[in-house]
Each structure stands twice: as C-alpha cells, then as structure tokens.
Amino acid sequence: MTTVLFSYFAGVIVLMAVLVVASRKPVNSALSLLVMFFHVAGLFVLLNAEFIAAVQIIVYAGAILVLYLFVVMLLNLRAEESYHKQYLVGLVVGLAILIEAVLILSRSGFADRALPAAAPAPDVLSGNTEGIGRALYTTYLFPFEVASLILLVAMIGAIILAKKGMFGKEEKRSLR
C-alpha cells in the first residue's frame, strides 16, 4: 500500500514539475506548482513526518505560491513562446545527468544496502509535532534564535528593497 501511494505521489510530482517548466502560461505553471506542493506533502506524510507535511502546505502552498503569483502579475508575463526553443539542449543535458546518476548509484553499492528503517510511526495522540517542539525549544534553542534573527533581517531587507522602487518616483512627484 505504501509503495502504491509513493508511486502515485512521485509520479504526480514528476508530471507537475515537467508541467511547471513546459506550460506556456505563467499562471498555469504556478498552479501546477501548487498541485506539486500538495503531493510533496503527501510524501512527507508517508515518511511519518506529519509536521513537515503541514509546514509544506501552510508555507509553500499557502505563502510562497502567493508570492510567485504576485511576481507573475507584477512582471506582466504573457503566454511566452520563447521558453520553448531549448527542448533539445534540455533533453541532452537531462539524459546525461540521468545516466550519470544511474551509474553513480549502481557503482556505489547504494542499491545493495538495506534501506534504513523509516521513522517510527508517531503516537496516535501526540504525533511528532510534540517531539519537534521539545527538541527545538530545549536542545536547539540557539539555532532557533538565529532563525528568528534571519527572519527579521529578511523582513527589513524586503521592506528596504521594495520601498526604493515604491516611493522613489511618487515622492518626487508629490514634492513638485
């Protein structure tokens, strides 16, 4: 059953990833990306990582994708023909990388090794969100604080970068 579900999720992910780069309308690309994010969340559920699955949906499907859509609208992209002149190059490079990956995997004995056991299925009652909370707020306090600083820097940087373009012209216009 797990194998069937994995094949479904992985297949849809690959298909949607191809659609993201192959579809002509940017909004269609973004929506394919949305479907892909949901299926990646499904993969995380299969790995017993339910908290990461929730993060995947809340942050990636909820917030990052909105950002992408806004960029599409900001740049006023239209259906574009010129993306699609590189199929041949892409095919050759992709095949080369695929052969390389297969060679590396088959020579390194990775396939012979037994798969590491999946994370133990979390408790029905608490789930692994509690484990993440315990680890994050006791053992990994310092990285957590660093993360909050990085987010603060990101916020200030975003405001400064966007404000330059936002108010530069308007302020001059209002001054005159």
Partner: protein, 125 residues
C-alpha cells in the same frame, strides 16, 4: 510493521475523504451548471450595459509592487507562525526558558512589525 503503517495511514482517511469531497464539489458544480444553464449568446448579453464601462485596455495590467511587499511580509509572519505551532503544544513541559525564548522570538518580530509600520509598508496610499 505493515499493520502499524496501515493504522498510521488510516488516520488520514478523513483528510483523504475531505480532499475528495472538495474536488468533487468543484467539479460537480461546474459540470452541472454547464449542462443545466441556458445558452443565450445575444449581443445585448455580451455587451457592457448601463453601468458597465467600455474596457479601455487589456485586463492583465502589471500589479503595483505594494502587493508584493504585503505578500512578502505574509510569508515571513507565516514562518513565524510555523515556529509557534510546535511551541504551543509543548510550552507547559519545557519550563521557564521555553517561555523566555518565545517571548524573545515574538519580541524580535514585534520589532520588525513596528519597523514595517513606521516605514509605511503596511499603508496603501
């Protein structure tokens, strides 16, 4: 092991059902209205009338950058929410320092929020 995995996955059956229902509702509504609706392609119906104004340009205009900065701030506060979520589950078990850390975390974000407010990033005009 197999039964354990099945038991774990069976917790998600209600979510699966929910997704199926959500997709089914959208698909059935669209299909049904497509079959049931009357089709009158009259000229009056397709033209803007009375209070509608004639379109003067393409509908796909570039958006102001303001939308982008709002989305950017939303992403950052969304990530903050992700950090608060596991904390809310264990905050009664990790003692004073857990609380202190979260106060510092939220304090930093309040600082960023005040900064965004002062800079006028949240203002529309």
């Amino acid at each position: 092991m197999v039964s354990q995995t099945a038991a774990y996955l069976s917790q998600y059956f209600s979510i699966f059902l929910f997704i199926i229902l959500a997709i089914g509702f959208g698909a059935v509504t669209l299909l049904l209205s497509n079959f049931v609706q009357p089709r009158l392609d009259l000229e009056e119906k397709l033209s803007p009338y009375e209070c509608g104004s004639e379109p003067i340009s393409d509908a796909r205009n570039p958006f102001p950058v303001r939308y982008y900065i709002i989305a950017m701030l939303f992403v950052i506060f969304d990530v903050e929410m992700i950090f608060i979520y596991p904390w809310a589950i264990v905050f009664d078990k990790i003692g004073f320092w857990g609380l202190f850390e979260m106060v510092m975390f939220i304090g930093l974000f309040v600082f960023g929020y005040i900064y965004a407010w002062k800079k006028g990033a949240l203002q529309w005009e």
